[in-house]
Amino acid sequence: MERIPILKLGDCLLVTIQVDMHDRLAMTLQDDLTERIVSQRARGVLIDISALDIVDSFIGRMLSNIAGMARILDADTVVVGMQPSVAITLVELGLSLPGIRTALNVDRGMALLAAARHSEDTAV
């Protein structure tokens, strides 16, 4: 079965979506990620969508679901690399991606995840 690879980077999981996703593939990614967060004790999830040339309501909902489930499992999610034309279209579509943190690129996304962990660790 076709799957989107999930890489482990320190205590983060990195996903780069490089294919035009059909809905089943999106659902599989959602399930796989949730499992990996638990099995690898990940604290952060970084999803790179720079290769996606559209985000429709289904993919938007998948991203929101991943962020929500990760949150419950004590991991932060950052979506990075959204193309400007995708951002413009998402706003017009009416999708504001609630609960999803975004960053311009992978570097900034990793910095955001590191900062979130640091502030949590110092709070404890």
Binding site: D20, D53, V55, E92
Partner: protein
């Protein structure tokens, strides 16, 4: 005026939704739509194609290139023989969903298009037509 023989694509599964997205993208590039307009029409097509598969039980999509007094555009038609929509006004509202989605499909597709038309008869099916003009 329709310029060339339209592409017709069957919509029976999620994989067909991907095929429709790719066909719409190809034609959008062919007629010279800007990247933002390409993205809008492909996104609208994705929403409507999914509606045809999920709500309509399958059907087809038609992609046509249009020329009208010097302007160029593309028209997409999505048709199914599914259960139809009893309350069109309700179905167009953001946040209304009969299938556990986000309920942005129809309203969102309308906002992403220049022209939007929907016809539906309960028990007979639904046809949605959208047009995006260049420029």
């Amino acid at each position: 005026m329709i310029l060339q023989k339209p592409h017709e694509l069957a919509l029976g599964s999620q994989d067909d939704v991907v095929m429709v997205r790719q066909a719409v993208r190809t034609v959008a590039i062919e007629i010279g739509l800007s990247l933002v307009d390409q993205t809008k029409i492909v996104t609208a097509a994705s929403e409507l194609a999914r509606n045809t598969v999920v709500h309509g039980g399958g059907g087809f999509a038609r992609v046509e290139i249009m020329r009208d007094t010097g302007r160029t555009g593309m028209r997409l038609t999505f048709e199914d023989q599914g259960p139809g929509i009893a309350d069109l006004e309700m179905a167009m509202k953001d946040g209304y969903s009969s299938a556990g989605g986000l309920g942005l499909g129809l309203g969102g597709a309308k906002r992403l298009s220049n022209e939007f038309a929907i016809e539906s008869q309960p028990g007979k099916g639904t046809r949605v037509t959208i047009t995006r003009w260049k420029g």
